[in-house]
């Protein structure tokens, strides 16, 4: 099991939710995981219903069986100062740099640099050991940028290579790449059973593979329960409306006669069944597309009440059940 778990996905697919559930699942039974956020959206704080996370590792949840989930929102500017402090012991000089806008400049304008700092911080957490030589975190789960940008984000080496050919940034990038391209890392993609997210997933995987980054699993999120299967949907079409009306009437929903309450339910119910059938067909097509990728596929249920803390634990349990964690 890779110790750095990177979770990406198209916007709106719930990658933050899946990353958080994965961190919870991996922490089960006494493990400690770190959930990192790199895009400054404070999505983790919202999910765990806590105040905004500072640039500091803090415990945000306890997993079943005594495990712990820590969270960290990585701020590129602070990460750079951190880094300067670590390698150059730049106390006040760092502050002077900040005042001049150099830090801002370095982290915002120089594109690759920002990403090296973010991934570098995550890799540092992966490798960090305590005094007894044990890893501080059993797993680090990263809520990463969306599918469209993930390869460029992780492939820092390529980004930085053209800019910094020598020097510490160059070395840092090399060190980060060694972790990211090793079996220590696994990049998972979250998708929905809809056309665009699936297409992006397919494209994203091709890009990741092209850059030799280790692709892990596909998590299909917000899967709606199957209420009627293909056979049932076929039967719905061939069943006379009157029979359905009588059946509904039999269930206590009013009269089956034309204009009766049960009878008047038939049309809208059939219409909803048609919508369901259309979506069902689309979903089956998308499942088939995902199936061809040859990656482990996991389906997570749509949570009836939306994602709250309880829902997060539910998803974590589901992930464990499916052997992801």
């Amino acid at each position: 099991m890779s110790r750095l778990q990177v979770v990406s996905g198209k916007g709106g697919t719930g990658k933050t939710t899946v990353a958080a559930a994965l961190a919870l699942a991996l922490a089960t039974e006494g493990k400690r995981t770190l959930l990192v956020e790199v895009e400054g959206r404070q999505g983790i704080a919202q999910l765990f219903e806590t105040e905004a996370l500072p640039y500091e590792e803090r415990k945000i949840a306890v997993a079943p069986g005594g495990g712990e989930v820590y969270a960290l929102a990585i701020d590129p500017e602070l990460a750079l100062l951190d880094y300067l402090q670590m390698f150059y012991k730049l106390g006040s000089a760092g502050r002077a740099l900040k005042k001049l806008g150099a830090i801002d400049f370095a982290t915002t304008i120089a594109p690759g640099l920002r990403d090296v700092l973010l991934t570098g911080k995550a890799c540092e957490a992966v490798r960090r050991k305590d005094r007894n030589g044990r890893f501080v975190y059993d797993y680090v789960v990263m809520d990463a940028p969306p599918t469209g940008r993930i390869t460029r984000f992780l492939n820092v080496n390529g980004e930085v290579a053209g800019l910094a050919k020598v020097g510490p940034i160059h070395n840092q990038a090399q060190a980060v790449m060694r972790v990211l391209k090793s079996p220590e890392t696994s990049v998972h993609l979250v998708t929905l059973l809809e056309e665009m997210p699936v297409q992006e997933t397919v494209d994203g995987i091709a890009e990741l593979r092209g850059a030799r980054l280790p692709v892990g699993r596909i998590a299909v999120n917000m899967v709606r329960p199957e209420v009627l299967d293909a056979d049932a949907l076929e039967l719905v079409r061939s069943t006379p409306r009157t029979a359905l009306a009588r059946s509904l009437s039999g269930a206590g929903l009013g009269g089956a006669r034309r204009g009766g309450h049960a009878e008047r339910l038939v049309d809208p119910l059939l219409e909803q069944a048609e919508e369901y059938a259309a979506r069902y067909t689309l979903e089956q097509e998308q499942r088939a597309v995902l199936g061809e990728l040859g990656l482990p596929l996991h389906e997570l249920p749509m949570l009836a009440e939306g994602v709250d803390l309880a829902g997060l634990y539910e998803l974590a349990t589901e992930l464990r059940k499916q052997g992801i964690a």
Binding site: L97, L100, A232, A251, R264, Q272, E305
Partner: protein, 491 residues
């Protein structure tokens, strides 16, 4: 028969027909809210004073499709429109004929031009846009030097704000050409919805700012007394940056910035101009969202931010709203009825087997069609049952509705049993739909409570993605209607 059922038969007739939604809400136990203001799309698109429509919102809410649908609708109303999209789905782009990335507006064929309108569309190529700025503002030698600079190459392709900046830059260019009555802009799928407002200023202030001046013109500052601190800071800083990035990178930055600085006449000026354009009266912002918690939270944030920046908000487009033609049947009653149908023991003490969901294979394969007339069984299994038979059955069923209810037709395994299972499935689908409806309504109400001033138009959910002009036209109709067209129960 349950008392509930009886009530259901009499209740609706006893009252004026309530608004479907309000009624559904009451049944779900939520508080009914006064409806939000309705956003009227057509007057906005028709008004010659509307020159720019900006669609913004978080990722995955249908921004691009909304922008394309608005553009098509305006064009078919007779306006000359250009739609600037950022990252359209492949098939949508193909349907508009802009699958090639050439950064130039292309006329879209196949629209209804009876009203004299035109639709053009283009897909933003951010690197190309950046290159064009350089080429337009620098002499060929200098342009070549900039375009070949590794720092420029990385910045133009990779900087997180470049796409946002270039989208706004392109908008400014299109507006300046004054060839179109209306420009509809899709905004990039930003990590935060605010990026496209911030990025131009940010990039502008960097390229035009203090640090850049220090990097490019140290000699000018060095001689002046008051600048001593800065000078010390600068040499320390260039030293540190050099150490950090490697001297060659720093040199690249300096060359790049020097070339850019003299060429551009100030990025900040351009950024300011774009910003002012967005505030101008001819601009209308539409915040696009779906009735989901995160999307609407982002939308609310956006509404507040636009107000703070004096940007003119026209309203909220709420995509993918679900409705039901049977919204008077609550989820609870639908589920109870479904259980009733699936497990006849509830009402039938004869102890039939509980119906198994999703196993309609028993349908029509009965060994013992005992309690019902064969004619019914036949009509239940034959797709081409005649209208006459249907009518007869309907009359028959209506007449015996009460009996049917107290003694459900058919034992497990009979065709009726299977029809019951199908009906139960339909009811479960309906219950899911009603739950979804009330969840969406709650989410929406939270937004409305926070921003009652924002006009809203709702677009009904479609089962699949939109791939053609007909689909876009349909979305346009839905946008203009302002509320989802619900399938009405036949009366």
């Amino acid at each position: 028969m349950s008392p509930d059922g009886t009530q259901a038969q009499t209740r609706p007739q006893g009252k004026d027909r309530p608004q479907g939604k309000a009624r559904a809400l009451a049944q779900e136990g939520a508080r009914p809210l006064s409806p939000a203001r309705v956003l009227d799309i057509d007057p906005l698109l028709q008004d010659p004073g509307t020159r720019i429509v900006v669609c913004c919102g978080s990722g995955g809410v249908g921004k691009t499709t909304t922008a394309a649908a608005l553009g098509l609708r305006a064009a078919e109303m007779g306006r000359k429109v250009v739609v600037l999209t950022i990252d359209p789905a492949r098939r949508l782009a193909q349907s508009m004929g802009i699958d090639s990335l050439d950064n130039t507006p292309r006329r879209v064929k196949g629209i209804d031009d009876a009203a004299g309108g035109e639709l053009h569309a283009m897909m933003l190529d951010m690197k190309r846009t950046f290159d064009e700025i350089v080429e337009a503002h620098a002499d060929p030698d200098r342009a070549a030097a900039i375009l070949g600079n590794p720092f420029y190459q990385s910045l133009s392709a990779g900087f997180a704000g470049t796409q946002e900046y270039m989208a706004m830059e392109k908008l400014g260019q299109l507006r300046a050409r004054d060839e179109w009555d209306l420009i509809v802009v899709d905004t990039p799928p930003s990590r935060s919805a605010l990026d496209f407002l911030d990025a131009p200023k940010r990039l502008g202030s960097f390229l035009d700012g203090k640090l850049i001046r220090l990097l490019t013109a140290p000699a000018k500052l060095g001689g002046r007394a008051g600048m001593k601190f800065l000078n010390v800071g600068m040499s320390m800083m260039t030293g540190t940056l050099g150490k950090l990035l490697g001297g060659q990178l720093l040199k690249d930055v300096q060359t790049f910035v020097a070339a850019m600085d003299t060429t551009f006449g100030g990025f900040r000026t351009r950024a300011d101009a774009t910003y002012k354009l967005l505030q101008a009266p001819g601009t209308a912002f539409l915040v696009v969202a779906a009735p989901e918690r995160d999307a609407l939270r982002e939308a609310a944030y956006f509404v507040e931010r636009l107000a703070a920046e004096d940007m003119p908000l026209a309203g909220l487009v709420l995509n993918r709203v679900h409705g039901s033609g049977a919204d008077r049947l609550s989820a609870e009653r639908a589920l109870a009825a479904a259980e009733n149908l699936e497990d006849p023991r509830i009402v039938d003490q004869d102890g039939g087997k509980a119906g198994v969901r999703n196993s309609p294979d028993t349908y029509g394969s009965s060994d013992s069609p005992d309690s019902d007339p064969p004619a019914d069984a036949a009509s239940a299994t034959t797709a081409d049952a005649t209208d006459a038979t249907n009518a007869a059955n309907a009359t028959d069923a209506g007449a015996t509705a009460t009996e049917d209810a107290s003694a459900p037709a058919g034992a497990p395994g009979t065709p009726e049993r299977s029809v019951d299972q199908l009906a139960a499935g339909l009811l479960r689908l309906h219950a899911d739909r009603m739950h979804l409806l009330s969840r969406e309504q709650r989410t929406r109400d939270r937004f409305t409570a926070r921003h009652p001033e924002v006009a809203v138009t709702e677009v009904a959910a479609l089962p699949g993605d939109v791939h053609d002009l007909a689909g876009l036209r349909d979305i346009g109709d839905r946008l203009a209607t302002g509320h989802p067209e619900l399938p009405e129960a036949r009366v």
